[in-house]
C-alpha cells in the first residue's frame, strides 16, 4: 500500500496539533486530501475508515472537534504503525572488523561511576578517578570508548592533585586512547572536529598513527581549514605522505603569519627544511631575523647553496662586530645560530670560513655561545665559539679535518687541546700520539691542559669488546663522562702500551683498568689492591677492577667474583640504580657457579632484580657470551 498520502495527512494533523484542533473544521488542506483518501479507500476498508473519520472531523461542530480529532489521529496512527516499512534493499556486505581483544563487561554501577568522571567538566578528583579506573583496567570495556573520546573532546585539560601528573586530556590520549589500537579509527574520524583545539590535535595525531596515508584528504582539510592547533599535527602527517611542493604555499603563509603559535611555525619551517627553492631560501633568510630560534633547525637541515652563501656572508659580517671590545648580545646570539646552522654542512666555503675563524680570530676563544642555541645544539661541554667550531670540524670526520684540528694543539695557550687530542687519537699512530701527549698526561694533576687531555682520554678509552658486550648498556657501568655519541665512535687498538704504567703511577685506577693487559703483570696486582677490603657488586670501583682483571685474563677471576657475590648484600640492588647494570658482570662466570647466583636470587625480594638474576643464569647456561 502506498502510504505517502497517509503521511501527508499525518503532517496536516501535526500542523493542527500546533494550531489547535478546532481549526480542522472546514480546513482547506484536509478537504483537499479527503477525495484522494476516499479513492485510496475504495479497495481498503481500513483506509475507508480514515476517510470517514476525516470527513467527520472536517464537518464537526466546534464542541465535537476534539473527539473527532483524537479519533482520526488514533485510526491514522494505528494504520501508520501497521504499514511502517522494514525493508532494506541492497547487497548485504560483511562488516570490516578490527576486534579489540579481551574486552570485559563491567556492571552498570562501575560504568556509571567512570562515565560520570569522564563527562564531568571539572571536579577535584576527576583525574584520580580516571587514573584509578585505568589502573583497574576498566577501559577494557569497549562501551566506554565513546565516553573516553567525548571526555577528551570536552576536557579542559586540568591537572590531577599531584603536581607532577599529566593533564586529563593528555592522560586520556597517552594512556587510554592510544592503547585501543586502530580499531577505534572510524570513531576518531567520525568525531574529529578540525576547528577544535588541543583535544582534536591529539585526535588527528592518533588518526595519523593508525591510519597513515589513508587519511591524506583529511589532513589536507585540517591544514587548509582547521584551527591553528590542528594544523600542527596535520603538517606532521602530510610531510610523510605527500610532497612538500603540494602544500608549500600554505606552509609559507603559516610561517609568515603573526597569529600562528611558535610551535606551529617551527613545524612549518621544518616541513620546508628540504625545499631548496628560492622562495623558501628567501623565507628562511628573512626569518633569521624575526624567528631565529624557530627557523635555525630548518636552515641547518636545508642543503640550498643560497643559504650556505647567506650563512658565510652573515657570519663574516658578524665577525666584524664580535671583534669589538664589548660586542652586543644580538651579534653573539646570531653568530651562535650561524655556527649551529653550519654544523654538518660540507660546502668548501663554510669549511674555509670555520677554519679561518679558528686560526685568525683569537677573540672567539673568549666569547661564549648563546645559551638557548647551546641547548638546542646539545653543546653541553662546549665553552667558547672556538671550541664549538673545533667540535663541528671534528664531527665532520674527514682525515684532512682531523689533521687540521690536531694541528691546533698549541693555539691560544692550548685552548683547543682536548679537541686536538681527540683529533690526534683519530689521525696519528699510537706511538706518535704517545710522544705528543704523554707529558700532558704525566702533568695532568699539575696543569689545566693536562687535566683536559686526561678527561678526554676517559671519554675515549674503553674496555675491549669482549668485556663490554656482556653489558646491555656499558655507559651505565663506566659512567664517567664516556659518551659513545659524543664525537664519534671511540677508536680501537690505537693506544700505546706505555699509557698503562703512566696511569698506574698517576693512580687513575678507573682509567688504567681499561688499558689492562695480560702482558703487564703489575697491573693485575694493582687492580687486586684497588679492590680494597670490602669489594661489593654494588660498588663501581669493584666492577671496574673486575673488568680490568677480566681483560688481563686473571686466572682466579671466577672464584674472586663468586666470593664478592657471596659477600654482597644483593638486596641493595635496585632497578632504578646503576647497580642494576653492574650485576651483568656475573655473566662472566661459567656454569659451575650458577648455584651461587641462584642463592643470591633466592635472597633478593625485588622481582625485577630477581628476574634479571634468572636471566643471567639462562645466559650462562646457553653460553651466549
Amino acid at each position: 500500500m502506498n502510504i505517502s498520502l497517509l503521511i501527508d495527512l499525518q503532517k496536516e494533523i501535526k500542523r493542527l496539533t500546533l494550531a489547535g484542533c478546532e481549526l480542522a473544521i472546514d480546513d482547506f488542506s484536509l478537504k483537499k486530501l479527503l477525495p484522494q483518501i476516499k479513492k485510496l479507500g475504495d479497495g481498503s476498508p481500513v483506509i475507508l475508515k480514515i476517510a470517514q473519520a476525516l470527513e467527520k472531523l472536517i464537518t464537526s461542530k466546534p464542541n465535537e472537534a476534539f473527539d473527532n480529532f483524537i479519533e482520526l489521529s488514533k485510526v491514522l496512527n494505528a494504520i501508520l504503525y501497521i504499514q511502517c516499512e522494514t525493508e532494506i534493499k541492497g547487497e548485504l556486505n560483511a562488516v570490516e572488523c578490527t576486534p579489540i581483544d579481551g574486552s570485559i563487561y563491567l556492571p552498570y554501577s562501575q560504568l556509571k561511576a567512570i562515565t560520570k568522571a569522564l563527562s564531568a567538566r571539572s571536579s577535584q578528583d576527576r583525574y584520580e578517578i580516571i587514573q584509578q579506573g585505568y589502573e583497574d583496567g576498566v577501559f577494557k570495556d569497549i562501551r566506554l570508548i565513546k565516553a573516553v573520546i567525548k571526555a577528551m573532546d570536552a576536557s579542559n585539560f586540568e591537572k590531577g592533585l599531584n603536581p607532577f601528573s599529566l593533564d586529563v586530556g593528555s592522560f586520556i590520549y597517552n594512556n587510554i586512547l592510544s592503547k585501543y589500537g586502530e580499531s577505534i579509527l572510524p570513531l576518531l574520524v567520525n568525531t574529529l572536529n578540525i576547528k577544535g583545539k588541543k583535544s582534536q590535535a591529539y585526535k588527528l595525531q592518533l588518526i595519523n598513527m593508525y591510519g597513515g596515508d589513508k587519511y591524506k584528504e583529511l589532513y589536507l582539510n585540517a591544514l587548509y581549514n582547521g584551527s591553528m592547533e590542528i594544523k600542527l599535527p596535520a603538517i606532521r602527517a602530510l610531510t610523510s605522505c605527500i610532497s612538500v611542493e603540494e602544500i608549500k604555499d600554505v606552509l609559507i603563509d603559516i610561517c609568515k603569519s603573526k597569529n600562528a603559535a611558535d610551535n606551529l611555525k617551527q613545524v612549518a619551517y621544518s616541513a620546508l627544511a628540504k625545499d631548496t627553492s628560492l622562495a623558501t631560501s628567501k623565507l628562511f633568510i628573512s626569518a633569521f631575523n624575526d624567528d631565529l630560534y624557530l627557523v635555525i633547525d630548518a636552515i641547518r637541515a636545508n642543503p640550498s647553496p643560497k643559504l650556505s652563501e647567506f650563512l658565510v656572508g652573515k657570519g663574516t659580517e658578524l665577525l666584524k662586530t664580535l671583534a669589538m671590545e664589548d660586542p652586543p648580545y644580538e651579534a653573539i646570539r646570531k653568530f651562535s645560530a650561524i655556527i649551529y646552522c653550519m654544523e654538518g654542512k660540507t660546502d668548501s666555503n663554510i669549511i674555509d670560513f670555520l677554519k679561518n675563524s679558528l686560526t685568525s680570530k683569537s677573540y672567539l676563544t673568549k666569547l661564549a655561545l648563546d645559551t638557548r642555541v647551546k641547548e638546542m645544539a646539545g653543546y653541553y661541554k662546549v665553552g667558547s665559539f672556538a671550541k664549538a667550531i673545533a667540535y663541528i670540524l671534528l664531527k665532520l670526520g674527514s682525515d684532512e679535518l682531523h689533521k687540521f684540528v690536531a694541528s691546533l694543539k698549541d693555539l691560544n695557550n692550548n685552548h683547543l687541546i682536548e679537541y686536538a687530542f681527540e683529533a690526534a687519537v683519530k689521525s696519528q699512530s699510537a706511538e706518535e700520539l704517545y710522544i705528543n701527549y704523554n707529558d700532558y698526561i704525566r702533568n695532568s694533576k699539575k696543569t689545566f691542559a693536562g687535566r683536559q687531555v686526561l678527561d678526554r682520554m676517559y671519554r675515549l678509552a674503553v674496555f675491549n669488546e669482549k668485556i663490554t658486550m656482556i653489558f646491555l648498556d656499558i655507559s651505565k657501568v663506566i659512567h664517567y663522562p664516556y659518551e659513545s655519541s659524543y664525537i664519534g665512535k671511540p677508536p680501537k687498538n690505537t693506544w700505546d702500551k706505555r699509557w698503562l704504567d703512566i696511569l698506574i703511577d698517576l693512580d687513575e685506577a678507573d682509567l688504567a683498568c681499561r688499558f689492562a693487559s695480560k702482558d703487564n703483570k703489575n697491573c693485575i696486582q694493582y687492580m687486586l689492591d684497588k679492590l680494597g677490603k670490602e669489594p661489593s657488586l654494588t660498588k663501581q670501583r669493584t666492577i671496574h677492577m673486575l673488568l680490568g682483571l677480566a681483560q688481563a685474563e686473571y686466572s682466579d677471576l671466577n672464584n674472586l667474583i663468586a666470593n664478592i657475590l657471596y659477600n654482597t648484600d644483593t638486596t641493595n640492588i635496585r632497578i632504578d640504580h646503576y647497580t642494576y647494570s653492574y650485576i651483568d658482570i656475573l655473566k662472566l662466570l661459567p656454569a659451575a657457579y650458577i648455584k651461587n647466583i641462584e642463592e643470591a636470587a633466592a635472597k633478593n625480594v625485588h622481582k625485577f632484580v630477581n628476574a634479571k638474576l634468572r636471566q643471567i643464569i639462562d645466559c650462562i647456561k646457553t653460553k651466549n657470551i
Binding site: C21, F69, L92, E96, Y108, S109
Partner: protein, 479 residues
C-alpha cells in the same frame, strides 16, 4: 559452608559507593578482628571507624537465600559498608579465625526463626480462613475519586489540543504543572506521569522534534481517560469491585500491584531461572524518579521480561540501586504483572544464584525468534494499540549481521531484514559504532536482543541493538 561471590555482594549492596567504601576499609586495614563460625554459616568481625569503639559487623548465612547483615554502626544502609567490607575480606582470602557465634547473634537468629514459624503458620491459617475483607465503601469512594480525576485529565487534554501546542507558553506550562499536581489527589499516578511527560516535552527547547511524541501522548491520555472511566464505572457496578488482572490498564492508571494481589490472580511461576541480558538506569523527569531497567530471559519459557525498580529522587539516597547481574538468578516465586504486552514486567523477592553454563548460552540462543516476518507482525499488532508499549524488546536470531551502505542490518534465515539503529533514549548507546570492534564470528548465526522503534514521521520500523548472545558470552552493547 558460605558461598560468597563478588556478584552476590554487589547484588545485595545498596549502591556502588557502599561497595567502594567497603573495599576502602580493606585497603586501609580497618578490620581489626575477623572471625567465622565453626560451621561457617556466619562471618563477623570488628572494624575501626570514626566512633570511640570498633563497629561489630556480621553477615549471617544461616538461611543462604535470605542472608542477614548486622552492624553496630549508625548507617541506615543495609548492608552497610562494614558488612560489605567484611564479605570482600572473606572472598579476598583474608585470615578469618574460627570463633564461637556471639550470644546476641544466636538470640537474634532465634527471634527470626520464631518470626518465620509464626509467619508460615499465619499463611497456612490465611489459606484456610476466608479471604481478607475489603473495605468496599472506602474502595468505591476511591474509584469514584479516580473517575473524577480522569474527567479532569480529559478536560486538560481538551484544553491543550483546542488552543494548540503553539499557544503553550511559560504561563500555560505553569497552569498545566499545577493541574498535574492536582491530579495527585485522585489516586492516578500513572495518569499524572503521562501528563507530566507532555508538560516536560512542551517545555523542552527543541519543540518541533517532539510534536509527534506529544500528540501521541495526548491521544494516549485521552484514550486512557475514556477507557479508564468505562472500566472504573463497570467496576463500581460489580458488587465485588473486582480488579482487572488481565490487562495492563490498572498499572497504566498507576496501581502499584502487591505481590499478594499478583499471586491471587495466578500470576506466579514457581522455581524460575532468569538471565539478565541488558541493564540500564535513567532518571525520569516526568516520574521524578530514577528507573532501574533490566531485561531478562526466562530460561524455562524463553520469554523476555522487564524489571523496573523506581527510586523517587527524594528517597533515592536511602534506596537500593539495582545493578547488572551476570549469573543465573533462581527464584522460587516469579511474579508477572498483568497485560498482554510482548515484554511483561516481573518481580521476585528472595533469590539465589548460580554460574551460567555453556548449556544456558545454547538455550538462550535457541529461544531467539527465527522468523522476522512473524516478529514484525506481532510487534505491529502491539504498537498499533494506543495504550500499548511502543518499544517491545525481543531476542532475535540472525544468520547474518552486515552492512548496506552505512547501515547495519540483520538478516534471518529466509533473507528478511531489519535495520539496526542506535536509540537516542539511552544516553550511553553507541552500539552500532561498537560492532566493528567485535570478533568476526559475532557476525553470523548468533542472537541479538533488540528494542523495536517506529518512526511515524518517516514510516520506518527499525531496531535498537542492545546485546549479542553467542555460544559463550553475552556481549552487552549498551548501558
Amino acid at each position: 559452608m558460605i558461598k560468597i561471590t563478588e556478584e552476590f555482594i554487589n547484588s545485595v549492596a545498596p549502591n556502588n559507593s557502599a561497595v567502594q567504601n567497603g573495599l576502602g576499609l580493606i585497603k586501609k586495614n580497618s578490620f581489626v578482628k575477623l572471625f567465622k563460625s565453626e560451621d561457617e554459616t556466619i562471618i563477623f568481625g570488628e572494624c575501626s571507624g570514626s566512633g570511640k569503639s570498633n563497629y561489630i559487623t556480621s553477615a549471617d548465612f544461616i538461611n543462604p537465600e535470605a542472608a542477614v547483615f548486622r552492624c553496630t554502626c549508625p548507617s541506615r544502609q543495609i548492608p552497610c559498608k562494614h558488612s560489605i567490607g567484611l564479605m570482600y575480606a572473606y572472598i579476598k582470602g583474608k585470615d578469618f579465625d574460627t570463633a564461637e557465634i556471639p550470644e546476641d547473634v544466636l538470640s537474634k537468629r532465634e527471634k527470626i526463626e520464631k518470626r518465620e514459624t509464626k509467619k508460615s503458620e499465619t499463611v497456612e491459617s490465611d489459606k484456610k480462613a476466608a479471604p481478607k475483607k475489603v473495605n468496599k465503601s472506602a474502595l468505591s469512594k476511591k474509584i469514584k475519586t479516580q473517575i473524577d480525576g480522569l474527567e479532569l485529565a480529559e478536560k486538560i487534554t481538551k484544553d491543550i489540543l483546542r488552543s494548540g501546542l503553539g499557544a503553550v507558553d511559560a504561563k500555560a506550562i505553569q497552569i498545566l504543572e499545577d493541574q498535574a499536581k492536582q491530579l495527585g489527589n485522585y489516586f492516578l499516578p500513572g495518569v499524572q506521569t503521562l501528563l507530566r511527560k507532555i508538560i516536560f516535552n512542551l517545555s523542552s527547547k527543541q519543540k518541533e522534534d517532539i510534536y509527534t511524541d506529544v500528540l501521541n501522548d495526548i491521544i494516549a491520555l485521552s484514550s486512557l481517560s475514556k477507557k479508564g472511566k468505562d472500566y472504573l464505572a463497570k467496576r463500581l457496578e460489580d458488587p465485588e469491585l473486582t480488579i482487572d488482572s488481565k490487562t495492563n490498564l490498572e498499572e497504566t492508571l498507576g496501581h502499584a500491584w502487591l505481590l499478594d494481589e499478583l499471586k491471587a490472580s495466578g500470576l506466579v511461576e514457581e522455581n524460575a531461572e532468569l538471565v539478565q541480558l541488558f541493564f540500564t538506569s535513567f532518571s525520569s523527569e516526568e516520574r521524578k524518579e530514577y528507573v532501574d531497567y533490566g531485561l531478562w530471559i526466562n530460561l524455562h519459557t524463553g520469554k523476555i521480561n522487564r524489571t523496573l525498580n523506581y527510586r523517587p529522587f527524594r528517597a533515592a539516597k536511602h534506596m537500593k540501586e539495582e545493578d547488572s547481574f551476570f549469573s543465573v538468578l533462581q527464584t522460587k516465586e516469579l511474579y508477572t504483572y498483568p497485560g498482554e504486552d510482548i515484554c511483561p514486567r516481573i518481580r521476585w523477592e528472595d533469590f539465589s544464584m548460580r554460574d551460567l553454563s555453556k548449556d544456558d548460552y545454547t538455550s538462550i540462543k535457541n529461544f531467539a525468534r527465527k522468523s522476522y516476518a512473524e516478529v514484525i507482525k506481532e510487534v505491529k499488532n502491539q504498537i498499533k494499540n494506543t495504550l500499548s508499549d511502543k518499544h517491545p524488546e525481543m531476542l532475535l536470531a540472525y544468520s547474518k549481521l552486515g552492512k548496506i551502505d552505512d547501515n547495519y542490518v540483520i538478516e534471518d534465515a529466509s533473507g528478511k531484514r531489519l535495520l539496526l539503529k542506535d536509540s537516542f533514549e539511552y544516553a550511553n548507546s553507541a552500539a552500532c559504532d561498537l560492532l566493528p570492534l567485535l570478533n568476526p564470528e559475532v557476525f553470523s548465526n548468533q542472537a541479538i536482543l533488540v528494542r523495536f522503534e517506529c518512526d511515524l514521521d518517516s514510516g520506518k520500523l527499525f531496531v535498537n541493538p542492545l546485546s549479542i548472545i553467542t555460544d559463550s558470552e553475552i556481549i552487552r552493547l549498551v548501558y
